[in-house]
């Protein structure tokens, strides 16, 4: 770690002001992505602004047809929340297979989305559920929010405040873990709401989370695993590394998608 300035603001406005003023400032949420990078000296923010003291950024609430989760809500709270389990059980499941207990007790949904790791789990849920990311300035649709590997629509000085998920009629998440890191090697979130089916894939694509439209069309016909028979995403645009090449990843996406649909139907 390099030396840095540390602030712990007590209001969102104060946090935003500090962030605007700081040269090379970063907000700190659970620290589960930012701190390891700083320790390895791969990130070196001059100013760190801890959101831990800002009121009103945590909590889980059912608001009509939406589930709203505060940006500073820890993964473990989402995992164990009766409200989440009732509204979108697939989301509680997703968090239960994210990292390990230590990570889940620190990491937050806002941090995960802002980070947009191409293998992270939450982005798949946001994209498939058509979530809205609410910041201190505006509301951003998930379709616009994720813009590539570690890249989002967030502008300089913008802070995620909460995330709003429309409650689906059916949803399922299936993840094949990266052997070493346990992030998603291929993770597929399927969601059906009214006549609309959305399928989001994380871990596999070389530009981060994406929607698999062919699968969406197929499932729009009939929401059963069989609709996906013979369907596999193209290997173009698939990630390739020592753990999984493009062909294996494309295959895993197809298998995970079927299993996600099976899960969604099981409820």
């Amino acid at each position: 770690m390099y030396a840095f300035e540390f602030h712990r603001p007590t209001s969102l406005r104060q946090a935003a002001n500090l962030l605007a003023k700081a040269e090379d400032g970063r907000v700190l949420a659970g620290g589960q992505s930012l701190l390891p990078m700083m320790k390895l000296r791969l990130a070196s923010p001059g100013t760190v602004i801890d959101l831990g003291g800002v009121p009103g950024m945590t909590g889980i609430e059912r608001k009509g047809r939406s589930l709203v989760i505060g940006a500073m809500t820890r993964h473990a709270e989402v995992e164990n929340s009766p409200v989440v389990k009732e509204a979108i059980p697939a989301l509680a499941h997703l968090v239960s297979v994210l990292g390990d207990p230590a990570v889940r007790n620190r990491g937050t949904i806002g941090g995960s989305l802002a980070n947009n790791d191409p293998s992270a789990d939450y982005p798949a849920a946001c994209l498939a559920l058509g979530a809205t990311i609410v910041t201190n300035r505006r509301r951003i649709a998930a379709d616009e929010f994720f813009q590539g590997v570690f890249t989002t629509a967030l502008e300089e000085g913008e802070i995620i405040v909460k995330v709003s998920f429309p409650v689906p009629s059916r949803a399922g998440y299936e993840k094949f873990r990266h052997p070493a890191s346990r992030f998603a090697l291929a993770g597929v979130f399927v969601a059906k709401r009214g006549g609309e089916v959305r399928v989001a894939v994380t871990g596999a694509g070389d530009s981060g989370v994406f929607r698999w439209e062919a699968a969406e069309t197929a499932l729009q016909g009939r929401f059963v695993p069989k609709s996906l028979d013979g369907l596999k995403p193209s290997t173009d645009g698939m990630n390739s590394d020592i753990h999984a090449d493009a062909a294996y990843r494309a295959h895993l996406v197809a298998v995970m998608a079927r299993r996600a649909v099976e899960k969604a139907l099981r409820r």
Binding site: A3, F176, A180, H243, A244
Partner: protein, 789 residues
């Protein structure tokens, strides 16, 4: 308080300290005035250093010194050594290049040590290390044996122009070739034994301290053998003479071989302490550990097995290329030679064996002993060959093994080893029952109904522990003797301190060694303490590796205890006014035979010290005895491990459903600790088979698996609850009948897993580690045609 006997399940005495956070590891040690060292490491796999500019770094805040290879050379500090001489087939000695502790002109792997920066704080040292400017002329690296041996490959060291350190062989080539010529069936396999990174929980660390008043050094270090470290640092590297160098290896959090060796960082810390006039501390971070701890395995082998028409094994032939890395680490040359080829007979009666091994330099981290060291590689070769041969002959793999087992002991193999005792049929029989081998076909059908591929695999391993006797290993090229020492100090009130040359870094010696003393002297285990890991306390020792501490280290203690009892008997004769020949020692009491006159061990100890009852000119006061024990032979633990697993052909995911281990470790001192050793060994063996593999980029020579984000360790959830049992044939080669258990699991497991996987997928083309991707690919391949029964 009761006596604790041999064979009792005693909970580990040391665990209270560890569990309550009271362990004293090297990083817990801080010396007054201590400064911190950070190493500048090569970012390139192969390069010539054109210039090192330390001027900016020297001026950074808090810096107390920046040292390079030039400073080492100026102080005449020698290079690191390899302590085992191997001669090639043609009689020539191995071709070793120099191994400086800080680079001199060249770097040869990513992570090679270029300079050290010492500063008041760790952060200051890190900042200054970034300010050291090194001008490299980058060269093309070779990272695997095939490219290193290719024509025109760049030479890692000028001393070995074709990168062959040695071209060694063992066995009777003519007899083996003749047996192959008349064989009815030959099984051949191409085997890659994957490269592993040890990953002890505690990374390496060192604190070097120099006392200018006495011109004496102290090195606190994470070592499995502090005396060997002192010997090498003193006699070969030349830091200080032995009597001016104290090496302390306090609590050490795992070694698995990687802490046997004398490394650059530890050497530099102790030397630099005098140079900068400050104690110097270095603690490896995890990335450094991945880059610079000695790696393990990395063999490429062509292996063949010849059989007659009845499926009796006639001969075995193996040709191995062993990657030794960029420099020869402390025992690197012995691992793929004398710790490997002599084990190629396995548990089988094989009349002829011939093995050739090329040791090869590459631009990768040095490779040396890692849990099992050579024996896992040999077991993998033998057990894969045997399994595949049985399948090809259409025979049951258990029956095929049993048919070829050695039955009579002692048994001389064609490759050096004389097995002293064993009963291989007994462990196989027990293992087959515990694993419910008969029910396997039913379970396989049940798995198939769920779309899963079930497989079962055997590993009928043998290993050799307690490498010895010293004269024999000396004749094979070892630079040291492989005995062990012990000193038993009885205090006047009858409590006992045992000083041992063995070192405990997870093995539980403080419990098992005390158990032996309690049993022999008839005193409570609480009255015994075990002292180890300090060259100022224990005079000399050879340390802990190769599962030698039970068989060799405890035998030394037993020998010293015999001397204590003999002396005690002399004292008792005076105290009890009887002839020495009439004194019996039993259950902690000296008794005059046939009478009720007796004295407790503690009373006699006190009498030995007050010396009122005997003439001090005729019998020396005191009760303290030492012993050096040199075994007569290796020990030969052996057993059968059976792995049953399920593969998901859609994803390549594996679940180990059942693990059965039946081991013969000879006499067992503490079953609880033995089982723990077996469990850990299996976990590491499963790690090698399914998960772990060091990957270097073939073009850049970068270590791709340099963190836990890419290097997959085995996890608790990967493993079932093990079924662990034993059979016992006492070892006749040491007074306690102990064979050793520290490495068995890691030796046995990889072959059991791969045999099960190949059984599940129906063909032999499954690499290690069998990652999900590799297994998914294997599942795409058509199964072999089953041979007709």
């Amino acid at each position: 308080m009761a006596v604790t006997s041999i064979g009792a399940r005693v909970a580990r005495k040391e665990d209270h300290r560890f569990i309550t956070g009271k362990g004293q590891y090297v990083d817990d040690i801080n010396r007054p005035g201590q400064a911190h060292a950070v190493f500048v490491r090569s970012p390139h796999a192969a390069a010539t250093i054109k210039r090192i500019d330390i001027s900016a770094a020297r001026k950074m805040p808090g810096v107390v010194g920046v040292l390079t290879g030039e400073d080492l050379a100026a102080d005449k500090i020698g290079g690191l050594i390899c302590g085992w001489m191997i001669h090639s087939k043609d009689g020539s000695p191995m071709k070793a290049g120099a191994h400086p502790a800080l680079a001199q002109g060249k770097v040869r792997y990513v992570g090679d040590h270029v300079a050290v920066v010492i500063a008041e704080t760790l952060l200051q040292a890190k900042d200054a290390a970034e300010a050291v400017v090194v001008d490299y002329a980058v060269e093309k690296p070779v990272v695997d044996v095939a490219s290193a041996l290719a024509k025109g490959a760049p030479a890692v060291h000028a001393e070995a122009p074709d990168n062959r350190v040695f071209s060694w062989h063992l066995g009777d080539k003519a007899a083996t070739d003749a047996a192959f010529a008349r064989a009815k069936h030959v099984t051949s396999l191409d085997i890659v034994n994957n490269r592993l990174i040890p990953n002890a929980m505690e990374p390496r660390a060192a604190v070097g301290d120099y006392d200018s008043g006495n011109d004496a050094f102290t090195l606190y270090t994470t070592s499995q053998n502090p005396h060997v470290a002192r010997l090498v640092l003193s006699a070969f590297i030349g830091v200080a003479p032995e009597h001016k160098l104290r090496v302390i290896a306090p609590d050490v959090g795992g070694g698995f071989g990687s802490k046997i060796f004398i490394y650059a960082e530890e050497t530099v810390c102790v030397w630099a302490a005098k140079k900068v006039g400050r104690p110097v501390k270095w603690t490896s971070d995890r990335t450094e550990a991945f880059l610079s701890d000695a790696h393990g395995r990395d063999h490429v082998t062509k292996a063949e097995l010849a059989m007659d028409e009845n499926g009796r094994i006639l001969a075995l032939r193996a040709s191995t290329k062993a990657n030794l890395g960029a420099y020869l680490s402390t025992f690197a040359s012995s691992v793929p030679t004398y710790l490997y080829a002599p084990l190629l007979s396995g548990q089988y009666d094989i009349p002829a064996i011939y093995a050739e091994v090329d040791g090869v330099y590459t631009h990768t981290a040095p490779v040396d002993a890692y849990r099992g060291a050579g024996r896992p590689e040999a077991t993998f070769v033998v057990e894969r060959l045997v399994e595949v041969a049985a399948r090809q002959l259409g025979q049951d793999p258990a029956k095929f093994r049993a048919r070829n087992y050695i039955r009579n002991f002692p048994h001389q193999t064609p490759v050096i080893m004389a097995y002293d005792a064993g009963d291989y049929h007994a462990s196989l029989k027990k293992a087959l029952e515990l694993a419910d081998y008969k029910g396997f076909a039913r379970r396989k059908r049940e798995s198939a109904r769920r779309g899963k591929l079930r497989g079962i695999g055997f590993s009928s391993y043998i290993e050799a522990c307690g490498i010895a006797p010293s004269a024999a290993v000396g004749s094979l090229g070892a630079g040291v003797g492989l005995w062990e020492s012990a000193e038993v100090r009885v205090n006047p009130i009858g409590t006992v301190e045992v000083l041992t040359g063995s070192h405990s870094h997870g093995q539980g010696h403080e419990t098992t060694f005390a158990q032996l003393v309690s049993d022999r002297l008839g005193i409570p285990i609480e009255n015994v303490s075990i002292v180890h890991g300090d060259t100022d306390k224990v005079q000399m020792g050879m340390g802990t590796y190769g599962s030698r501490s039970g068989a060799v280290g405890m035998s030394a203690i037993a020998k010293a205890l015999d001397k204590v009892i003999a002396k005690g008997r002399k004292v008792a004769a005076h105290v009890l006014e009887a002839a020495e020949g009439d004194i019996e020692f039993k259950d902690g009491k000296f008794t005059v035979a046939g009478t009720d006159r007796s004295a407790g061990f503690g009373d006699i100890a006190l009498q030995a010290y007050i010396a009122h009852k005997f003439n001090g000119q005729e019998l020396e006061p005191g009760l303290k005895e030492g012993a050096f024990y040199d075994p007569t032979n290796f020990t030969f633990p052996a057993g059968v491990h059976i792995c049953e697993l399920e593969v998901d052909p859609q994803t390549g995911d594996v679940r180990i459903e059942k693990w059965t281990a039946v081991d013969d470790f000879g006499v067992i001192i503490n079953p609880l600790i033995v089982e723990g050793q077996v469990h850990g060994g299996i976990a590491q063996g499963v790690g090698q088979a399914l998960h772990e593999g060091a990957v270097y980029d073939p073009v850049t020579g970068q270590l791709v698996t340099a963190s836990y984000m890419d290097y997959r360790m085995p996890r608790a959830e990967d493993l079932p609850s093990f079924v662990v049992d034993t059979t016992v044939t006492p070892c006749p080669s040491n007074p306690l009948g102990i064979k050793g258990c520290g490495e068995a699991g890691a030796i046995a497991a990889p072959a059991a897993v791969v045999n099960a996987l190949t059984d599940a997928v129906g063909h032999e083309d499954v690499p290690m580690p069998a990652t999900p991707q590799a297994l998914w690919r294997a599942c795409q391949k058509a199964p072999r045609l089953m041979a007709a029964e």
